[in-house]
């Protein structure tokens, strides 16, 4: 097992190096320094989105030529070290970078019918068309909030999911707690001529203000999942509760956003973040991230969406689960580990559940991966925060894909 993993790691390093080279070639004009201090936040919020706003983060799609996946280096078979015969030979997993120069890309949703990939990042929501290999800004003009105290991330909209084929739910992270919103946009099946402003939503849910249920109000709506007739949103405001908020959908309209599941009270661990439904739609699956500055405290939890009751809480040993998704083909469960304390430990993992035990098996190392989503064919799209390079004008984040097979 050990050597096997190591080889995968090596292969990854190779691919990532390739990705980095590509990254290096991308170019972008930015008219503003990345780091905003808390004090400037308000001003930023007031700012009208300038025409050139999207330019700040003109994502660069990768040249198809360079896109070629590099085959993993040939494995030598150190027979002697082979631990067990049953160890299946793992096909090398290759991560293909599709779009670079994104800042804090935290959410992915795939549109039914078109297969377009919607990505939320600091400046807005982008639409990526895998067939035409185009990337277009769809929604922009969000303010910016800062997450973390070092490293710090400038964040905008966070979680995204489709309510139906043409309604995209966007959980925001760009405002202070207690002012944060969830917005639902009507999106078509073609890129827009020009992006729309963030306040052009057809429905706006929230904010969840400070009150009895939430000492300081809710914010950082990191994860969005739609299922069982409702929208579920992970919140990171009041840490005594760790709310998952819920909005019941009726006649195609989302109802009020209410704190619904107090995950911290149920699990004693902070921060519900990643959220998805089990393939049969009966279980709400949540990654409880725990403390970002503590390693190995992440839980994989299961709730009954009907009652909001915790049915299972499993220790994963992972550091910070940021994304969860079931493969539509194999029904296997995958998670990304952002691994705040030690980025070298981060990556994509398969979570194998056996009774009350879950084993996290690394598929591939990634530099601060966040959201994941499978398309119908089983291709896995993922966002990666990456590490800020020397050029402050260039954002390190990217959208990538792993071809069907997981």
């Amino acid at each position: 097992m050990q050597w096997n993993l190591q080889r995968i790691l090596k292969a990854t390093a190779f691919c990532l190096t390739a990705a980095c080279l590509l990254l290096g070639s991308s170019y972008l004009v930015a008219d503003e320094k990345g780091d905003k201090k808390g004090d400037d936040k308000k001003e930023a919020a007031k700012e009208e989105p300038k025409k050139e706003a999207p330019k700040k983060e003109e994502p660069k799609k990768e040249e198809p030529k360079k896109e070629e996946t590099k085959p993993a280096p040939k494995k030598e078979e150190p027979k002697k070290e082979e631990p067990k015969k049953e160890e299946p030979k793992k096909p090398a997993v290759t991560v293909k970078t599709l779009v670079t120069n994104l800042e804090s890309p935290s959410g992915i949703a795939i549109q039914d019918g078109t297969g377009h990939v919607f990505v939320a990042s600091r400046y807005g929501v982008y639409r990526y068309d895998a067939k035409g290999k185009t990337v277009d800004l769809e929604i922009a003009g969000y303010p910016t909030d800062v997450y973390g105290k070092g490293p710090k991330y400038n964040i905008g909209p966070l979680g995204v999911a489709f309510m139906d084929k043409d309604h995209l739910v966007v959980g925001d992270g760009s405002r202070p707690d207690a002012e944060e919103l969830v917005r639902i946009y009507k999106v078509g099946d073609k890129p827009l001529e020009k992006w729309v402003k963030e306040d052009t939503a057809v429905q706006t849910l929230g904010p969840i203000k400070a009150g009895d249920k939430s000492a300081k109000g809710e914010g950082n709506f990191y994860g969005v999942a739609v299922g069982d007739g409702a929208i579920y949103i992970t919140c990171n405001g009041d840490d005594t509760k760790g709310w998952v908020a819920k909005s019941v959908i009726k006649d195609g309209k989302a109802g009020p956003l209410e704190p619904s599941i107090a995950t911290k009270e149920a699990t004693n661990v902070d921060a519900p973040v990643a959220i998805t439904f089990s393939p049969d739609g009966k279980e709400l699956v949540i990654g409880q991230m725990g403390e970002v500055n503590v390693a190995g405290d992440c839980l994989l939890t299961f709730y009954d969406p009907k009652t909001g009751k915790l049915t299972k809480s499993l220790k994963t040993g992972l550091n910070d689960i940021a994304g969860l998704a079931y493969s539509p083909k194999t029904k296997k469960l995958y998670a990304t580990d952002f691994s705040w304390v030690d980025a070298t430990k981060g990556g994509l993992f398969e979570l194998k559940i056996d009774g009350d035990k879950v084993t996290a098996e690394k598929v591939i190392s990634l530099d601060k991966p966040a959201a994941i989503a499978f398309d119908k064919e089983g291709n896995l799209y993922l966002t990666v925060f990456g590490t800020q390079g020397k050029d402050p004008e260039k954002s390190p984040g990217s959208l990538a894909v792993i071809k069907a097979g997981l």
Binding site: G148, K149, G150, P151, K152, D177, D212, A215, K216, D238, D239, T240, K264, N268, V269, D270, G290, E291, V292, N293, V294, A295, G296, D297, K315, G317, W340, V341, T359, A360
Partner: protein, 345 residues
């Protein structure tokens, strides 16, 4: 969590003095049969390291060592000097006073319920009690006795030598001294407080004021953002703004983790029987629980690294009192383990 725990222990063990312990013995079944340690109401079972199961004899030996001043160079200081049972297993001083009256820069934390701590010390630099136990003996400003000398001294005392032979099948060594002390420390447990009885259904266990304080603790005052779980800690590190107005603030966890955001962060201390272990905070800067609550009420001392969960609480004077009452009355165990110095060999 097995993966994580083993990862942590593997790391800490290799860094510590007890590398040799890494090979684990198979767990003896007797451990399950004889409950040598009774866990009070409100606390979960204790996880003993596989290679250091508790026995009554080992606990007794560890207790002797814990109280034995001969483990310090000038025979004046024992673990109990700084972690005194009658002082909430702390020492009632702002800073610990060690060898020849020297003072360190940090307050003695309590060892109450340290059995459950994932990290030890204010900055979490030790991962296990075994790993931690030998540190103070050799620390020049604490007990100032080298490990070699400590081992020699112990083995020169026939009463100790005999016990070590019986329990570990060998003379005293660094490892088994650490194991014995750590095992004893795992018996210093506080639970079965009015809070636990209230939760278990006895609605009279808490006064009205303490009940209001409890509501605040888990609600408006947001204390349970960090002080959560059976021992009231999230086993994590936060900057709550203590000492951040000092000339050179203690970097805290940052010095260990090297994570920028950890600057001025300290381990969330457990809170059971907290009324006994004043003064409070890593720098011992707060003398009473009321001072502590006042600190939180004003939103801590502002600084770049202040935790998001620290904010102005707008508590009324009555609410401040209620919170203090909850901690004093609600979290004080009915059966406080005020251990006395045992007879030493």
């Amino acid at each position: 969590m097995t993966t994580a725990t083993s990862r942590i222990s593997a790391r800490t063990l290799s860094a510590g003095v007890v590398c040799a312990l890494a090979i684990s013995f198979s767990i003896s079944l007797s451990q399950a049969e004889e409950p040598v340690i009774k866990v009070p109401l409100g606390l979960p079972p204790i996880q003993f390291p596989e290679d250091n199961p508790p026995t009554a004899e080992k606990i007794a030996l560890g207790k002797q060592l814990y109280f034995d001043k001969r483990l310090s160079r000038d025979n004046t200081i024992s673990c109990a000097s700084c972690h005194a049972p009658e002082k909430g297993y702390s020492n009632a001083d702002q800073f610990a006073t060690g060898f020849k009256g020297q003072k360190g820069g940090r307050n003695s934390p309590t060892v109450i319920n340290a059995a459950y701590n994932k990290f030890h010390f204010w900055d979490g630099r030790a991962g296990s009690l075994e790993e931690q136990a030998l540190g103070p003996i050799a620390n020049p400003i604490e007990m100032n006795l080298t490990h070699k000398e400590a081992v020699e001294r112990i083995n020169a005392i026939p009463g100790y030598k005999k016990q070590f032979q019986k329990i570990f099948g060998s003379d005293a060594t660094e490892e088994n001294i650490a194991k014995a002390i750590a095992t004893y420390e795992r018996t210093i447990l506080c639970g079965d407080a009015p809070y636990d009885r209230f939760k278990a259904g006895d609605k009279k266990a808490l006064s009205e004021s303490a009940q209001r304080g409890m509501q605040l603790f888990f609600g408006k005052a947001a204390c349970s953002s960090c002080h959560s779980g059976p021992t009231f800690t999230d086993h994590a590190f936060h900057n709550i703004g203590v000492g951040m107005d000092a000339k050179e603030p203690d970097a805290g966890r940052k010095a260990i983790s090297n994570l920028g955001g950890d600057h001025g962060s300290f381990k969330t201390p457990a809170l059971r029987d907290i009324a006994r272990s004043a003064p409070y905070m890593h720098d011992g800067s707060m003398k009473t629980l009321k001072e502590v609550v006042d600190h939180y009420n004003k939103g801590g001392i502002p600084n770049e690294f202040l935790d998001e969960e620290i904010f102005k609480l707008n508590l009324t004077p009555q609410e401040v009192d209620d919170l203090v009452t909850f901690m004093k009355e609600g979290l004080s165990s009915s059966n406080y383990p005020e251990h006395k110095e045992p007879e030493l060999p």
